[in-house]
Every structure is written in structure tokens, then in C-alpha cells.
């Protein structure tokens, strides 16, 4: 029994729901087909099971240590990552032209997800490297690409993202790291970067940091931020790892979860010169970072779904095995106990997890598919429409799983009772691991402002493309007899639109966004309800053999969709009304109201 993948559901999402086969007929992806993608997923599942899963708990219990100026990590981490490199997994998502396999992003996202579910602390090193390489590939000069990409794509050199500083997290406008231009066109960097995942370790021959800094004399705020390539070791004449670039590890952070990924405070240019190379244009650093933001944020959502999946699958197994109590109404205590899965309330907790996990996976997969659709769009208008849709849904894909899949991890712990609260079982670890996803890559609050403020209120994104997609699903679903769900979804959308109208016409920005985070959460629930309706309607169209496991699978889809509409979507109406009423309880609450007076 596998505890970290659900291949049947993955097949359902990729092929039955999102119709990956059609994407694979486009010239960009025509080298791939269902068979080879399935073969790749098989390999990925095998590597994850053999080389990642077995030491996840051990790594959590033995977090990296800072000894004599160096990071010590248990050896399994390096071994697993080299298997990943040898299998060609660092390069898989890149274009063939630069040595990749040009895999669709929706496939890459789900490949990554399998490693996340098995042992995300290890997978993080690879994801960060791929993210950094992506940026280099998009903005680097040919010379820069030649210097770094081959080793990064082979998994020999790792990468990081250095945005945050001790005093600047959400507000990147306030970063202070300084870059001084030198005569040869390179820069000399100084300052501190905080929270840098994978910032220091001995797992790879070199670490290539992507660093945000201000060039001396640059304008204040976000318009004065540039992006730099800053290698841990400079490259020598031969292009190999040369002398140390004076990036000092000032300390490791001791985290709640994801403990196997080093998290570092790095000091640049303290004991000697740290050389940096400008990537892209001067003062356009944030724009470069944001270019990759959609992919990165959907990736965070995917990670959250996967932590929840791992917890859910464990909880299901446990619930089938654990005998406890008798059904309500059975008074005779000499009768045998039943497995807890026989208790309705336990099945409710399983249903909550299934709805969040499978709903979340459909969301992150759909958004990843939009990236592929942008790349294969035939006209500029079509591309613009996908662009708009992805922009609108990115904060949702990042935040909805972070909230609801974390909640799913809570229910997994609950199903194991006291055992779930101990470290002898993995469910509390998955919860701790998942808790980060609400914080990094823009907190829940920042995402709420992005969606309701920047995108919907200021009009950067329109609702129309999403509305069109939803309408077409509703049309199909009505033909399948899912009328009650369709009506409810229409109502919820109308309620969201009303709230957006009010927010748009309110001149006071602060007040209009007072409940932006709650709006994001409810809006996310509407989007996921749409995706559940879509899944239910696909399930209704299937014709499995009576009594088969396939029949059970499709029935479970329809039941989970029903659950989602009745138990979750029903909650959004209050929230939208609250947003539309411009409720100012929190807006007017004085800072003095809180804490001990």
C-alpha cells in the first residue's frame, strides 16, 4: 500500500478532467504521449518510494546542524538528490533546446508533487534550483546561461532565491542589500539575507544565489531593485568552481517543519568581496522575480496539497485498521468493536480531507495547465485570456490549499487520536511541514490584497474569462442532472460579483480591503466548487462496470462534490455579504484594544 501517491486520481485529473491528450497534440508537446508520461510517473513514484520516503522522519528528527562553520546534513539527502539528477529530473521541465525534455508544466508540477509527498524537505533543494535556473534562462545573457545552466540542469549546482531580509519580508520595497558597480561591470554586494532556503550546505559543488539588491543611487522602493547572480564560489577560468565568494552563513533557523531544508541567514561581503553579476536590466529586478511568480506560487499550493495527501492516505489506512467502539445504537458490549472508519464522524473527517486534497489538486493542476496553454495558444487574444485567468487564479492556487489542505492535515491528526499527536506517526509532521505554505511566497494577507486590491479592484485582472469557463462547465453539468449544484454555484458567483462591485466603487482603499483575506478564502472556495462540479460531471459521464473498483471511484467523486457544495460552498455567502457591507469592525479597532491594557 502506497502512502504518498494516488495515481488513479492523478490519471483522472490529468487525462479525464483536463484532457492532457489534447494538449499533447500541439506541436510544442507532440513528442510526449500518455504512455511515456505514465512511464515517467512510474519512475518518479519508484524513486520517491525508494530514495525519498524511507528517511523523511529521520530527517525531521535530525535537522541540519551548523558545525565549525559548515552545515551537516544526514547523508541520505545528498544521495536522494543525486538520484534525482541522474534520472534527469532537474532538467525535465526545460525546453529541448537547452537540454530539457519540454514536459508540460502540468506534468512537471505533478512529478514535483510526488517527491513533495514523499519527502518535501529534500525535494525543496531541487525545486529551488529549477526556479533559479528558470530565471537565468529567461533573463540571462548567452554567456551567463552557458556558465551556469548546464550544471544546474544536471543537478550538480543548486540554486536559491534571496529576496527576504531580516527587516523586509512582505515589503520588498524596503530591502537594503547594496550593490556597488565596479569598473569591470560586475558588482560588489553587501548586506544580509534572511530565511534563505537551501542557502548553505555541502550537498552540491556550488550554490547559485539569485539576489535582490539596490544599486547605489537607485530610486527608493520597488523601482530601485535589481537582480543579481551571486555564486557561492566564483567560477575560475575553466568555468569550474573557483574561490569562495565571501557569502557567510551567519546562522541556521530552527523551524517548525520542513526541517531538512536548511534555512539560512546569509551575510554578503563581510569578510571579503562578494561579487555579483547583474541579471536582466538594472532596477527591473522585481519584475524578473514576478515573471516566475505564477509558477512559484502555484508550486506552493501544490506542495500544500501534497502534504495533505500524505496525511490523508495515512489516515485512511489507520481508520480501516483501528478498532474502537461500537456503532451508535449498539448497546451490547460483548459484540466486537468496529474499525473507526465505521463511525460516521470519522468518515466526515475523511471526506473533508478528500474534498480538500482532490479539490486542491484539480486547482493547482488546472493553473499549471494554463501555463502550458499560454505557451501553445494560437492567437495573441487566446494567450491574453489564459494570462488573465492565470493571474486571477494564482493567489487562489497559492492560498486556498495553504488554508484548507492544512485543515485536512488537522483532520488526519484527529483521526489518529492521541497517536496522531505523537512523533511515532507522520501526520503531525505533515501538519508542521504544511504550515509554512501560508507564510512564504507572500503571506495569506498579502495574497488577499493581491487578489481583491491589485487584481479585482484596480482592474489588473477581469473576472470574465473565469466566468466563461464556469458557465461552460455549468452547461455540461446541467445536462448530467447536477442542477442543484449548478444553481448554488451561480448564486455564489453572483454573491462574489456583488462584493467585488462594492469594493470597486468604494473610494477608501483601506476600508474596501479591510476583509480582503476573507474574500480570497471564500472566492477560492467558489473556484474549487466549480472544479468539483467539473469532476462530478466527468464522473457522471463514465460508465464503469457494476461492482468494480472503478464504479466505486466515480461514485466517490460524485459524493465528494456533493459534500463540497453542501458543507463548504454553503459557507461563502456570509463572507461575501460581510465584504460587501464594508464591515469596519477591524478597520476601526484601535491598536490599543489588544493585549493587556
Amino acid at each position: 500500500m502506497s502512502e504518498f501517491v494516488d495515481r488513479r486520481n492523478l490519471d483522472f485529473v490529468l487525462f479525464e478532467m483536463l484532457d492532457l491528450d489534447t494538449l499533447l497534440t500541439t506541436p510544442r508537446y507532440e513528442e510526449h504521449d500518455r504512455e511515456s508520461i505514465t512511464a515517467m510517473l512510474d519512475v518518479v513514484e519508484g524513486i520517491a518510494e525508494t530514495n525519498f520516503l524511507p528517511f523523511a522522519a529521520k530527517l525531521d528528527a535530525n535537522e541540519p546542524k551548523f558545525v565549525d562553520g559548515k552545515v551537516e546534513i544526514i547523508p541520505e539527502v545528498g544521495e536522494a538528490l543525486s538520484v534525482l539528477g541522474e534520472a534527469g529530473l532537474f532538467a525535465a521541465g526545460f525546453d529541448e533546446a537547452i537540454g530539457g525534455l519540454q514536459l508540460p508544466w502540468v506534468v512537471t508540477t505533478n512529478i514535483n508533487g510526488i517527491f513533495t509527498a514523499a519527502n518535501l524537505s529534500v525535494a525543496n533543494y531541487a525545486f529551488l534550483t529549477v526556479g533559479a535556473a528558470n530565471m537565468l534562462n529567461a533573463f540571462g545573457t548567452d554567456e551567463q546561461k552557458d556558465a551556469y545552466l548546464p550544471n544546474m540542469l544536471a543537478g550538480k549546482w543548486f540554486g536559491t532565491m534571496c529576496l527576504s531580509e531580516p527587516q523586509a519580508g512582505s515589503s520588498l520595497a524596503d530591502i537594503k542589500t547594496k550593490a556597488v558597480r565596479k569598473d569591470d561591470g560586475t558588482f560588489s554586494l553587501s548586506g544580509s539575507k534572511m530565511w534563505i532556503s537551501g542557502g548553505d550546505h555541502e550537498l552540491s559543488d556550488n550554490i547559485i544565489h539569485m539576489v535582490l539588491a539596490r544599486i547605489e543611487g537607485a530610486p527608493v522602493g520597488t523601482r530601485g531593485i535589481s537582480l543579481f547572480i551571486v555564486p557561492r564560489y566564483r567560477l575560475n577560468e575553466a568555468g569550474e568552481r573557483g574561490e569562495w565568494n565571501h557569502i557567510a552563513l551567519a546562522g541556521l533557523n530552527h523551524k517548525m517543519g520542513q526541517r531538512g531544508t536548511t534555512n539560512c541567514l546569509l551575510n554578503f561581503g563581510e569578510s571579503g568581496e562578494t561579487v555579483g553579476y547583474l541579471l536582466g536590466e538594472e532596477n527591473k529586478g522585481l519584475a524578473c522575480m514576478f515573471h516566475m511568480m505564477n509558477e512559484a506560487r502555484v508550486g506552493v499550493g501544490q506542495a500544500s496539497v501534497m502534504s495533505a495527501l500524505a496525511g490523508y492516505l495515512h489516515a485512511v489506512d489507520y481508520a480501516r485498521e483501528r478498532p474502537q467502539g461500537r456503532p451508535a445504537g449498539v448497546k451490547d458490549q460483548s459484540t466486537p468493536q468496529v474499525s473507526i472508519i465505521e463511525h460516521t464522524d470519522v468518515r466526515r473527517m475523511l471526506m473533508a480531507q478528500k474534498a480538500a486534497v482532490e479539490g486542491g489538486l484539480s486547482l493547482t493542476s488546472y493553473c499549471s495547465l494554463l501555463v502550458d496553454k499560454q505557451k501553445t495558444a494560437e492567437t495573441a487574444e487566446e494567450r491574453a485570456e489564459y494570462d488573465d485567468l492565470l493571474g486571477l487564479l494564482t493567489p487562489v492556487a497559492k492560498s486556498w490549499p495553504s488554508e484548507h489542505c492544512l485543515e485536512a492535515n488537522k483532520w488526519a491528526i484527529q483521526i489518529l487520536g492521541g497517536y496522531g499527536y505523537t512523533r511515532d506517526y507522520p501526520v503531525e509532521r505533515h501538519y508542521r511541514d504544511n504550515r509554512l505554505n501560508h507564510i512564504h511566497e507572500g503571506t495569506f494577507g498579502i495574497q488577499g490584497r493581491d487578489l481583491l486590491g491589485r487584481k479585482l479592484r484596480a482592474g489588473v485582472s477581469a473576472l470574465t474569462p473565469l466566468r466563461n469557463q464556469i458557465s461552460s462547465t455549468i452547461e455540461t453539468a446541467r445536462a448530467q442532472g447536477l442542477n442543484a449544484e449548478c444553481d448554488q454555484l451561480e448564486k455564489a458567483l453572483a454573491s462574489a460579483e456583488k462584493a467585488i462591485e462594492v469594493v470597486r466603487s468604494c473610494e477608501e482603499e483601506n476600508l474596501s480591503l479591510a476583509n480582503a483575506t476573507l474574500f480570497l478564502d471564500a472566492f477560492g472556495t467558489v473556484v474549487v466548487a466549480w472544479l468539483w462540479l467539473w469532476q462530478a460531471s466527468v464522473a457522471k459521464q463514465a460508465s464503469p462496470e457494476a461492482g468494480s473498483s472503478e464504479e466505486t471511484f466515480y461514485k466517490s467523486k460524485i459524493a465528494a462534490a456533493q459534500y463540497f457544495f453542501r458543507y463548504e460552498l454553503s459557507k461563502v455567502f456570509n463572507t461575501f455579504e460581510l465584504v460587501a457591507s464594508l464591515d469596519d469592525t477591524c478597520e476601526l479597532a484601535s491598536a490599543d484594544f489588544f493585549g493587556v491594557s
Binding site: 512511464a39 519512475v43 529530473l89
Partner: protein, 248 residues
């Protein structure tokens, strides 16, 4: 030296097998299927022989439905050179498989055939031995180490109570045991390259052998659920309980 490796498509070892409602067999609808794990070991061994320069070509053959092509592709991605698919939707028993393989051997003239010692779906453990008998070739079964040198294969076998090494004159049959090697995972680029490697499509009719089954399946059922145990006071009680059950 050419090496022939037969590979079987079986229900994945991770899948919890369920019996079909009509008890005619195991429910395989949309169930994950993979290469028989023992056959993976055979492919790995053959590819290693090729990497060491001992073998010049590795040919994989599968007998079964069209989807066996996926199993062949897995072997090609691991490093085999080409495949042969003998297509049939009927059940083929070990004897029929051995006869078909004999015909393939006649066409391909390999010097070594490496088979898994058994397939994890029916656990027959017969095909390799039957093939050796039909060809009248020497056999080294349950191999834990294989060394090919100067027209001979030295095969170390896992036997009750230890290991036994036999020297076989080539051509020969080897069947693999679990500890022979640890099969590699194909790399993703090699999965793509395997798409371009040739697979020869054949029908059972091409070989003119009688593959009619010799066995009839009466019915397939789940194993009985284990009954709850009981802790007894002392040894005399245990003995009397066992006697009462007719176990002593």
C-alpha cells in the same frame, strides 16, 4: 553475444488485488500494471552484461495484450536494444510461454536467455525450467550471481541452506532471484529515447505452436479473513486447545 530477456506485464506489487464480482479472476480494470519485478532484475542483468562489453545486444520479448508494449518500453528505457511483442488476449500458461519462447530462440539464436524465476501474479516458477527442457539447454535457476566468461556462464544459485555455483556451457538459461541485483530506474531522457527503439509485432499464429490452456479456473476468492487470536493461560491449556482443534 546476444541476450534474450522475456518480460511479463503483471499487476503492480503495490496494488491490493481485488477479486472480480463474478469470481472469474482478479479485477484488472484501470489497475496499475508493471513489469514483473523478477523480470526487471533480468533486464538489469542483461543491460549490465552489455555495459561490461560481454553482451552485444539485448532483446526483450513479451507475450500478452497490446499493452505489453508499455512493459517492453520500460525495458528499452532501462537499456535493452529492441523488443518483440507476441500479441494475444488469451491466457497463456507457462508451457505455452515456454513453447513460444523456444520458437523465438530459434529465430534469434541468443546465447543466453535470462528469465525471472517466477511472476508475481501466478507465482508459477515454471517457464524457465520448461524452456530449458524444450531446448535441451543447461539451466541455472534462482541466480544470485552470474559471470559469463569464455563460452561458459558461472551461475551462483540460491538453494535451501546456502549457495551453489554451477558452470553452464552456453547457450544456457538463467532464472533470476531477488538478490541478483538492484534494477535501475530508467532516466526520463531514456524513456523518451526508448520510444524510437523498434518493437516487432507478432501474433501467436506466426509461430505455429499449440498454446491451448491445460488448466480450467473454477473460481477465484479472497483469502479467508484471519480470525482473532486468543491468549491462553499456560502450556497445558494450549496443548488441549490444539488437540481439540485436531491440530495435534
Amino acid at each position: 553475444m546476444k541476450v534474450l530477456v522475456p518480460v511479463k506485464r503483471v499487476i503492480d506489487y503495490n496494488v491490493k488485488a481485488r477479486v472480480k464480482p463474478d469470481q472469474s479472476g482478479v479485477d484488472l480494470a484501470n489497475v496499475k500494471m508493471s513489469m514483473n519485478p523478477f523480470d526487471e532484475i533480468s533486464v538489469e542483468e542483461a543491460v549490465r552484461l552489455k555495459e561490461a562489453g560481454t553482451a552485444t545486444e539485448v532483446v526483450v520479448v513479451s507475450i500478452g495484450p497490446q499493452q505489453c508494449q508499455e512493459t517492453l518500453r520500460t525495458a528499452l528505457a532501462m537499456g535493452a536494444d529492441r523488443g518483440i511483442l507476441i500479441k494475444t488476449d488469451d491466457k497463456v500458461e507457462p508451457l505455452a510461454v515456454a513453447k513460444l519462447l523456444k520458437a523465438v530462440v530459434a529465430e534469434e539464436s541468443p546465447e543466453l536467455v535470462i528469465l525471472g524465476k517466477q511472476a508475481i501474479d501466478d507465482d508459477s516458477n515454471q517457464t524457465g525450467q520448461m524452456l530449458a527442457a524444450l531446448l535441451d539447454w543447461p539451466q541455472g535457476t534462482f541466480a544470485n550471481e552470474v559471470k559469463v566468461d569464455g563460452g561458459k556462464a558461472n551461475v551462483t544459485r540460491e538453494i535451501d541452506g546456502g549457495l551453489q555455483t554451477v558452470a553452464l556451457d552456453l547457450p544456457a538459461i538463467v532464472t533470476t532471484d531477488l538478490r541478483l541485483n538492484e534494477p535501475r530506474y530508467a532516466s526520463l531522457p531514456n524513456i523518451m529515447k526508448a520510444k524510437k527503439k523498434p518493437i516487432d509485432m507478432k501474433e501467436i499464429g506466426d509461430y505455429g505452436v499449440d498454446v491451448a490452456p491445460r488448466l480450467t479456473t473454477v473460481k477465484v476468492t479472497e483469502p479467508p479473513v484471519r480470525e482473532a487470536g486468543e491468549i491462553v493461560e499456560d502450556v497445558p491449556t494450549l496443548v488441549s486447545k490444539l488437540k481439540a482443534k485436531g491440530a495435534l
